[in-house]
C-alpha cells in the first residue's frame, strides 16, 4: 500500500497493543492538566543540586506543576523545601533564582525569609517568626504559630540532588527510584559532586516527547557523533532495562570518542567506580534523566508548561574535589557533546521540536509507533512501551485510546479486538 487515506491512516496499526499510542496524549489540554494534577504533584522531582546552596541560609527557587517552591539550607545544614508562598495574602516570598538570607533585605532582618509585601518573616524551618503589628491587628485571634509556611517533602539523595515531592503521602524516594539508581549509586555517592553547567531550553513540544528521546537510541541515526563513536557490536548489545514505576536504565558500553575527529578519550577523568569511557543513562518517570558519560554527569529536568510547551533544565556536574584543570577538562568533555554548542544536544532539541510542530493541540490524532523489538537492546522501543504503560496507570487512560480507561496490555488487546 502506498500513501493512505484518512481511515487507513487512523486504523489500528498492524502491531500489538502497547506498541503504538494515540498522539492525543501529546496534544490534549485536558490530558495536560490531568498530568500536572495527578502525576507531577505526586512524583519526586530533583529541583536543584545541593552544591547550588552550599552555605547555611543559601536558597534556590524552583517550581513543580505551577507551584512555586523554595529550597533553603538551615543553620543546621539541613536542606528543606517549602511552597514559596506567603501565608498572609499569597505573595511570592523570594523572587530571585538563588541567593542567601544571611544578609538582610529591604523589608526584613538577616537570617529570615521576608515577604516584601507586609514584612512577615519566616525562619529556615518555615516557622513564622514575625508578623508586623501582630497584636494590634489580630489581637489574640491569630498568632505566628498558625501561619507557618507549607512544608514540602524533601530529600537530598543520589549524588546530592535535592528532590521535592508535593504529595505528603507519596512513597519515599528510595522506594520510588532506588532500584534504577543501583547501576550508578556507587559512582554518584563516592564523593560530593558539584554543578558546573546550567542552561535551559523552552521548546514547543510535549514533555513526553523529550523524555522519549532520552529513552530511545534508535534516533542515534540523527547524531553523526553517536554513529561514529558507537554503532559497533557492543553498542548494539547495550540493554534497555525496565524498572517499577515507569523508570528505565540504558546499560553501558564503551564509547570510542577518538573515532570522532578532534575528540579524545575520557578515560583519565572517569567518575569513581566507572570503567573508562562508559555511558549509563537513567530515565525516571515522568521526565527526568541522568546521563553519566565517562567524565561528566548530565541531569535533565522537564517542567511541562502546556501540551505543546516544555522547559528543560540541563545541568552538568563534576566532582567537588576537582582541580581547576580537571574541572575545565570535564567542562569541555561535557560541552563538546551536551553543551548548547555541542555535537548532540541541539540535534535532539530540533528533533522534538519537529514533533511538536506536527502535533499542535487540535491536530488530527495519529498513531505513534513504539513497536521495535530487538531483545530489549538499544534500538528496541521497550523503554517507551514501559513508560506509556505506567502513564496509562496514573491517568487511568489507555495510551492507544486515551478516552478509554486503562487496562493492562493483555486485556486491552481483547478490548480493541471487540471494537
Amino acid at each position: 500500500m502506498a500513501a493512505r487515506n484518512h481511515n487507513q491512516w487512523m486504523a489500528k496499526p498492524p502491531l500489538e497493543q502497547g506498541e503504538w499510542i494515540d498522539s492525543r496524549v501529546y496534544t490534549d489540554h485536558e490530558i495536560f492538566e490531568e498530568e500536572n494534577e495527578k502525576i507531577f504533584k505526586s512524583t519526586w522531582i530533583p529541583v536543584c543540586h545541593e552544591s547550588e546552596l552550599p552555605k547555611p541560609y543559601d536558597f534556590r527557587t524552583s517550581s513543580i506543576a505551577r507551584e512555586p517552591i523554595i529550597v533553603c539550607r538551615g543553620p543546621d545544614n539541613q536542606v528543606r523545601a517549602f511552597l514559596n508562598v506567603c501565608p498572609h495574602r499569597g505573595m511570592m516570598i523570594e523572587r530571585r533564582p538563588s541567593g542567601s538570607f544571611y544578609e538582610g533585605q529591604p523589608s526584613g532582618n538577616p537570617k529570615r525569609m521576608t515577604c516584601m509585601f507586609h514584612g512577615w518573616q519566616f525562619d529556615m524551618k518555615g516557622s513564622c517568626v514575625y508578623v508586623s503589628r501582630e497584636k494590634e491587628g489580630y489581637q489574640d485571634r491569630l498568632c505566628k504559630d498558625d501561619v507557618g509556611l507549607r512544608r514540602l517533602r524533601c530529600e537530598v539523595k543520589f549524588g546530592g540532588f535535592v528532590w521535592v515531592n508535593l504529595n505528603d503521602k507519596a512513597p519515599d524516594l528510595e522506594t520510588w527510584a532506588g532500584k534504577p539508581f543501583e547501576c550508578l549509586r556507587k559512582s554518584l555517592e563516592a564523593e560530593p559532586l558539584e554543578v558546573f553547567h546550567y542552561h535551559k531550553a523552552i521548546v514547543d513540544t510535549n514533555y513526553k516527547l523529550w523524555h522519549d528521546t532520552n529513552c530511545e537510541f534508535y534516533h542515534d541515526f540523527m547524531h553523526y557523533h553517536n554513529r561514529v563513536t558507537g554503532f559497533n557490536d557492543a553498542y548494539f548489545a547495550r540493554k534497555n532495562e525496565a524498572f517499577d514505576n515507569g523508570h528505565i536504565v540504558v546499560g553501558t558500553f564503551e564509547v570510542n570518542y577518538d573515532k570522532y575527529e578532534g575528540f579524545e578519550s575520557r578515560a583519565a577523568l572517569s567518575f569513581p567506580h566507572l570503567p573508562p569511557n562508559q555511558w549509563y543513562m537513567i530515565d525516571l518517570f515522568p521526565g527526568i534523566n541522568f546521563n553519566l558519560r565517562g567524565s561528566a554527569l548530565r541531569c535533565d529536568v522537564v517542567t511541562p508548561l502546556g501540551p505543546n510547551k516544555t522547559m528543560i533544565e540541563f545541568r552538568g556536574l563534576g566532582l567537588k574535589s576537582d582541580s581547576k584543570e580537571d574541572r575545565m577538562t570535564r567542562i569541555n568533555h561535557h560541552n563538546s557533546i551536551w553543551g548548547p554548542f555541542g555535537r548532540n544536544l541541539h540535534e535532539d532539541l530540533i528533533g522534538v521540536q519537529g514533533q511538536g510542530n506536527t502535533m499542535l493541540p487540535g491536530t488530527e490524532a495519529r498513531r505513534v509507533l513504539h513497536g521495535r523489538q530487538e531483545n530489549q537492546t538499544i534500538h528496541d522501543e521497550n523503554g517507551m512501551r514501559h513508560y506509556y504503560d505506567e502513564w496509562g496507570r496514573w491517568l487511568n487512560r489507555l495510551p492507544s485510546s486515551p478516552d478509554k480507561p486503562y487496562s493492562a496490555p493483555k486485556e486491552t488487546e481483547a478490548v480493541t479486538a471487540a471494537e
Binding site: R96, P97, H199, Y224, N335, F341, H346, I350, Q353, N357
Partner: protein, 160 residues
C-alpha cells in the same frame, strides 16, 4: 589608520565573515594561537560557566564537520558595536569590548511555513577580544563571547 580603527575594522570584518558563514575566512583573521570561548555567568547556580572553549585547531575540526551534523539552518545576523578599544603601550596589541546582539532569521527548525522569514533575537552578549597589530592589520589572538543568555533553545552549533 590608527590602532583603534584597525581593531574596529577587524572586528567588523569578523562579523561579516561569520554572518556569511565563511568560517575559514573568519579563521584566517585569527592567529595560530587563537583561543575562542563562549561563556556565561549563571545566577541560578552561581557559577561562571564555559559553554564552548576551542583553540584554532578545534575550530577547524568543528567547522569542517558541520556539514555532517543536522542543524537549524536559520541564518544568524550579528549586530556588533565596538564600545572600546584599548591599545597596549607599545601599540602591538589591543583589547576591545563590543556589544553583540545576534538575531536568527527563521528558515527551518520550527514550522517553516509559518515562521520562515521572521527574525528572532537569538542571544545577547559581549565580545571581549584581544588582537595583535601586524602590517597594519588586526589579527585575533583571543575572543571570549560573554553571553547573558542561560536560556538557549534549539539553535545551531555554529560558532558565534
Amino acid at each position: 589608520m590608527s590602532t583603534c580603527e584597525t581593531v574596529r575594522d577587524a572586528i567588523y570584518q569578523a562579523t561579516m565573515f561569520l554572518d556569511a558563514q565563511k568560517w575559514n575566512d573568519w579563521l584566517s583573521l585569527c592567529d595560530e594561537s587563537f583561543e575562542y570561548s563562549i561563556t556565561s555567568f549563571s545566577p541560578e547556580i552561581n557559577y561562571d560557566m564555559t559553554y564552548l572553549a576551542a583553540n584554532k585547531k578545534d575550530l577547524h575540526h568543528l567547522v569542517d564537520l558541520l556539514p555532517k551534523h543536522n542543524t537549524d539552518h536559520s541564518p544568524l545576523h550579528r549586530h556588533t558595536t565596538v564600545y572600546s578599544v584599548q591599545p597596549s603601550e607599545d601599540g602591538k596589541t589591543a583589547t576591545a569590548v563590543s556589544s553583540v546582539l545576534i538575531f536568527q532569521n527563521m528558515l527551518d527548525g520550527t514550522h517553516s511555513h509559518i515562521d520562515a522569514g521572521e527574525s528572532r533575537l537569538f542571544v545577547i552578549g559581549r565580545y571581549m577580544d584581544t588582537l595583535k597589530i601586524e602590517n597594519g592589520k588586526g589579527i585575533f589572538l583571543k575572543r571570549e563571547l560573554k553571553l547573558d543568555n542561560r536560556r538557549l533553545d534549539k539553535g545551531s552549533h555554529w560558532p558565534l
